[in-house]
């Protein structure tokens, strides 16, 4: 089939039957928009998490009693340092501080500002902070969500923490954590480690957990075994397990959504089948005429399927484009909360644009394949119209 003449004729036919095609394109776009938005958000979050995980320590060691986490003895750090292959051992102090009983909570993170941090971003943050000024009083760095929440509760510059001993500790807000880290830092408060200990009720020789790195990944499995042998109440988690559990969480959320989406898709397929089966006599006569003028069934089939592919492609491009704008430019209002939980502090996160082959091809397959499959039989039926229909 000659390209130019074919495409010219195809365009004219598409314009002629635009009402039929536009309604299909519109519904397709809506469905694609919904699907793409969800997948874009999901993959963007996963990307951000992966980026965050990259800078996480390889191992986290803590103490458990009766299945729950309890303060970890800081002297375990020395035992860890003795193990060959372990580097950058850092004890951590952090915990949840409840603003009021059963109300919102903050994540308090104690940092030893004098030591080198194993967490790269934290290190960068510390490098940027004027340590001298910071230590001039009891001060803290807060996440955006914390700042907003405190402000609405009339705490503009400082907050009085209630320690487990019943004393108040007034801590001033020094600065806000960078907004790009909102995904993690939104409800975070960074404090000097001793202040954090006081507020969270840890003694001098207690920490929440101890982190360290093991550069040789082949040793990780062996390391877990070694550590577990150190103490009966030691709990060891490595980065790969965390990565996997995040992947599973997002797979789970995404998977459940996708399965529900399939129901919508099935309905759409039925509608398509119906719509394409409604062949008006004009269309039948036109096809009959083409056949009478010498078009073979193959030629007609090629024509009708190209028509379909154009509709599919246009819907796909528009649907994905609008989803891209909605998620990565407008920040996906409403939809983002489904993924970010929204049960603690409100998070004003900006999604990192992540467009990879996996997402785009998955969207295309889940849409285009069922679409073409639904219309295949109706399109065939009209394409094999007898040429003598032209005589009627």
């Amino acid at each position: 089939m000659n390209s130019n003449a074919f495409w010219h004729f195809l365009t004219l036919q598409l314009i002629k039957e635009r009402s039929k095609h536009l309604s299909v394109i519109f519904i397709s776009m809506m469905i694609l928009f919904l699907l793409s938005s969800v997948l874009f958000i999901s993959s963007s979050i996963r990307f951000s998490l992966e980026e965050t995980l990259k800078v996480q320590p390889d191992f986290v060691v803590s103490r458990i009693q009766g299945g729950t986490a309890v303060p970890t003895p800081v002297k375990w750090s020395d035992e860890l340092l003795d193990i060959y292959g372990v580097s950058q051992v850092t004890p951590r102090v952090y915990g949840r501080y409840f603003f009021e009983p059963k109300r919102k909570s903050f994540l308090l993170v104690g940092v030893d500002f004098m030591e080198e941090q194993s967490h790269q971003k934290l290190q960068t943050l510390i490098d940027k902070t004027d340590i001298k000024a910071f230590f001039e009083g009891k001060q803290m760095l807060v996440g955006q969500g914390v700042k907003d929440y405190l402000e609405t509760h009339f705490y503009k510059d400082a907050y009085n923490f209630l320690t487990p001993e019943g004393k108040f500790e007034k801590v001033t807000i020094f600065n806000t954590l960078p907004s790009q880290t909102n995904l993690i830092s939104n409800e975070m408060i960074v404090l000097p480690i001793d202040l954090a200990r006081k507020i969270l009720g840890y003694t001098e020789d207690e920490v929440s957990d101890i982190i360290f790195n093991v550069p040789n990944t082949d040793e990780w499995d062996m390391m877990t075994d070694k550590l577990s042998a150190l103490h009966y109440d030691i709990h060891v988690v490595n980065k790969k397990e965390v990565e996997k559990s995040y992947a599973n969480l997002y797979n789970y959320k995404g998977g459940v959504f996708l399965i529900l989406f399939l129901i919508l898709l099935f309905t759409f397929a039925l509608i398509l089948y119906q719509r394409y089966s409604m062949v008006y006599s004009t269309e039948r006569r036109h096809i009959g005429l083409l056949r009478a003028l010498g078009w073979s069934i193959n030629a007609v089939l090629r024509f009708k399927f190209t028509e379909t592919i154009v509709v599919v492609s246009v819907s796909y491009i528009l649907g994905v484009l609008f989803a891209y704008l909605y998620v990565f430019v407008l920040g996906a209002p409403l939809l983002s909360q489904i993924f970010l939980g929204g049960d603690n502090l409100t998070n004003d996160v900006h999604f990192v644009p992540v467009l990879d082959f996996s997402v785009l091809s998955s969207i295309f397959l889940i849409y285009a394949l069922p679409f073409i499959a639904s219309v295949l039989i109706p399109v065939w039926k009209v394409s094999v119209t007898d040429p003598k229909e032209a005589m009627l």
């Binding site: 990565e243 996997k244 797979n251 789970y252 996708l258 399965i259 397959l365 499959a373």
Partner: protein
């Protein structure tokens, strides 16, 4: 847990696509079976004319399935590569494919189905150009066989994905393809040099016989070439793609860090094989020949060989030594 695998986006999309294609193919099979029973091309009855129209439905469905199967095998490889994140010990698709017994059989079955679909296309092409549908019955029987293979494929698809255990570690490619205890993994006890000589010789033989009347020789050469080429790529050329003499894997080269070159390499080899053998078989059994096909096959084979050679050449030019 089986759930983790089944809930991954790619697996859902993949299984949905395979199921949709199977449903269409089932319709085609039922129609084709009915046509095969009652087909009488010389007859003038309205029923025969209806059957002729329905034959177009069958060929349209097969055409659509044909295109989608090629797309889906790429997506399948891509999916299992992504799954390597969930499966402990797997660094690429190699580990995931061997996560259970079904994987390797499934992959081989998929590659076989693609060949038979290509063959069906060649037979269909020639059948449509006869005045009395000379090969209609043979074509229909071939399709019936393909349908049964695809039924098996669908069962294997679900079995494979449902038996991937994300708790049990698998072997990564270095274990699967590495040379353990000095044992020679190459076929026929060949050395690497002999393997390469055979590789290039077979390529030359194919190029020489592709347009000649020696179709049987071509078919044998092609089948042998695929077998030898597999080992040549995994145990020699691949190491130049990875620039590491110990990295032997047919799958890692399909990852982003190697610019997905694996898809081009394996794609050109298999496409050339499918078209080459299909064309040779139709020449042998039906006396029909397609020159354009032969030219395309020659181009694809050359692309494959050139690409393999280029990796070695570039490495040598850059470093002055071979691995």
């Amino acid at each position: 847990m089986m759930n983790e695998v089944f809930l991954s986006n790619q697996v859902i999309v993949f299984l949905l696509s395979e199921s949709t294609l199977f449903s269409l193919l089932f319709i085609a099979f039922v129609v084709s079976f009915k046509i095969l029973l009652k087909w009488d091309f010389e007859s003038f009855t309205p029923y025969q004319f209806t059957l002729e129209r329905q034959a177009y439905l069958v060929s349209t469905i097969i055409y659509f399935v044909f295109i989608m199967k090629f797309i889906l095998i790429v997506y399948f490889i891509f999916t299992i590569d992504v799954l390597s994140l969930l499966v402990p010990g797997a660094m690429c698709a190699a580990g995931v494919i061997t996560a259970n017994d079904y994987g390797s059989y499934l992959l081989i079955l998929k590659l076989t189905i693609l060949f038979f679909l290509t063959l069906w296309f060649y037979v269909h092409y020639y059948d449509m150009r006869t005045k009395n549908h000379l090969w209609f019955k043979q074509k229909s029987l071939l399709f019936s066989s393909i349908f049964l293979m695809i039924l098996l494929e669908l069962i294997l698809d679900f079995s494979y994905f449902s038996h991937i255990d994300t708790q049990i570690p698998v072997n990564c490619c270095s274990t699967l393809f590495g040379q353990l205890e000095g044992a020679n993994p190459l076929p026929f006890g060949l050395s690497i040099n002999m393997l390469l000589i055979l590789f290039y010789l077979l390529y030359a033989l194919m190029i020489l016989t592709i347009k000649s009347s020696q179709t049987l020789l071509y078919i044998i050469a092609n089948i042998l070439f695929v077998y030898i080429a597999y080992y040549a790529v995994v145990y020699f050329f691949g190491t130049y793609v990875y620039q590491l003499p110990t990295h032997k894997c047919p799958f890692c080269m399909m990852q982003a860090e190697y610019f997905y070159i694996g898809y081009v390499l394996w794609g050109s080899l298999f496409l050339a094989t499918y078209m080459g053998i299909s064309n040779a078989l139709t020449t042998l059994l039906m006396g029909k020949n397609h020159t354009r096909s032969q030219i395309n096959v020659a181009y694809l084979l050359s692309l494959f060989v050139l690409l393999c050679t280029a990796y070695v050449a570039v490495y040598y030019i850059k470093n002055g030594v071979l691995l």
